[in-house]
Symmetry: C2
């Protein structure tokens, strides 16, 4: 498993390998083709960012936590939930690709993709029951799952509409930031950190998550593609993300002729919109905003207890958020 | 809400109304059309069989349980899980109809249907967390959800294949009987029944569930349709159910010419298969088997503690399993 963000930390790498092993054990299905596909998806390309954050934050606790079976399970649960939502997202978007491979829905049909996602939800649930039964985090996880879905549904609701920045933030907060926030918070909590640290972790995770999504949205307007996603994917499915939203108000006249076509927008139209969004500074402004959230995260990280882990965390965060540059 | 199975029991009816109210409160989504659709699905046509079994079995416990908020929540969780799987099933089957209404996926697209099902899963989790945190039933529910999905995946795996009777039973045990078994078992347990009764409940529910599914499969071969399902739906999607499986071995030559066409089977072909299955006694044999499971259920019911509830339960069971006649 190639996870170059953390190559320099052998303990984290070793823990992530355990996460990978556990996930592979748990995603057993009575369907051979599907099992091969799920295993491929689990091990290739996914950077295990959420488990990594979870495990890293655990180091702010009182124990040496890299090997804790409970933490490995909790970290795995985050990745499992993430995989489940990805698989279902692909059904929605009709995505042919995910993580450089044919998506499960393209290879096996929507049928199998829907049920595979559902299966992963049960695995997620199993892991929660095994690790969090007598803690408030069972409810927190249930709530997180709901927020993620509400974020996705909210985004769907706003397709081909000029949503407000508030609605945009609300949706990305749900669909992306929630999981990073949960990862950090859970890691700190179950690692034995004090409540101030757990609280900080929650907000650090949230800020990182928001930045992560904004950078992902910016990628959609970059001319060099990358990261295994076809460019302009959001735009072509009616998802008006930050770079566009930031210039839409001031440049209604120039942009609306294309956007008003909605589903009949051609690829050429999307390229034109991409050009305009860049020209009008939408990408630059979005980068600026992403920078603000990054700085907020880094400030909060500075408030964490000082130990070797803080350096690792800063390094991880900076690398993750520079991914597009 | 029309639930004519239990019209004669005002306390059960009253409890089911509370279940309906709770479900309506919980299925809130930030999408108005969808909310209307979910509410419609929740209140119209669904007979609330699973909640009814749950609440009825609770009466074998030591308390007067018709009004217990905890039991209302548990009963609701069963119906919510059932709804979630129905919505996802419809995405798979491309069903235009469910419960006499346009299915969610036909009305709003696969997108919304996938996410709505996911949303209901989160509501299901929420209810479990609220009611079962310190009991073994959290794990039991997680396990039940997995069995249901494994049953569906198993059935998908066997499409257009001559599955064995064992595989058939395994799949219907997972996808249908599990939930009835869980409903009965949970009802008894949280109603405060003794462990012998809980154990009996589990097996009564399972037998009823198997019968229920067999009768549903038989309906597919009946010439009068009914129950809001287009006839021959299973066959046309490659699901070879009991009536067909029971005659397939002995009448390979006559049946395979049609079945071998698989996805290219015409409606006329399915009508022919239906005719042959009836002629060769597949429907009659299936009825016979259903009768065996029904009798088993009734025998076990006779072993329950004697009280007024036993009569209600027998009446409910007999009515439910006569639904096709």
């Amino acid at each position: 498993m190639d996870n170059h963000y953390f190559q320099s930390d052998p303990q984290l790498n070793s823990a992530l390998k355990k996460v990978n092993q556990l996930i592979n054990q748990r995603i057993k299905v009575n369907n051979q083709d599907l099992q091969v596909a799920l295993k491929k998806m689990a091990s290739k390309g996914g950077k295990y960012l959420r488990p990594a954050f979870c495990l890293t934050f655990a180091q702010f606790g009182s124990n040496n936590n890299w090997k804790s079976p409970q933490l490995i399970k909790i970290a795995s649960s985050l990745e499992i939930l993430h995989m489940a939502t990805l698989i279902h997202d692909d059904v929605i978007d009709d995505s042919p690709e995910r993580r450089g491979e044919e998506s499960i829905q393209a290879a096996f049909g929507k049928d199998t993709a829907v049920y595979s996602g559902d299966l992963l939800f049960t695995v997620f649930f199993d892991l929660l029951v095994e690790t969090m039964e007598n803690s408030p985090y069972l409810a927190t996880n249930a709530q997180a799952m709901r927020k993620i879905l509400a974020g996705e549904l909210g985004q769907m609701n706003q397709r081909y509409r000029q949503q407000s920045l508030l609605e945009y933030y609300r949706n990305i907060n749900g669909k992306t930031a929630t999981l990073f926030s949960l990862a950090a918070q859970e890691g700190a909590y179950f690692g034995g950190a004090d409540s101030r640290t757990v609280h900080l972790a929650k907000h650090i995770g949230q800020n990182i998550g928001i930045t992560f999504q904004i950078l992902d949205d910016i990628l959609d307007y970059k001319t060099d593609g990358g990261l295994n996603k076809p460019i302009l994917e959001d735009l072509s499915t009616g998802v008006y993300s930050l770079p566009l939203l930031l210039v839409l108000k001031d440049y209604q006249e120039e942009l609306m002729p294309y956007l008003a076509k909605k589903r009949t927008m051609t690829y050429k139209d999307t390229l034109k919109v991409q050009e305009l969004v860049n020209r009008y500074g939408g990408v630059a402004k979005a980068h600026e905003l992403a920078g603000k959230f990054t700085n907020k995260a880094l400030q909060l990280i500075d408030e964490l207890p000082i130990n070797g882990t803080q350096k690792l965390l800063k390094r991880v965060t900076t690398q993750l958020l520079d991914r597009s540059m």
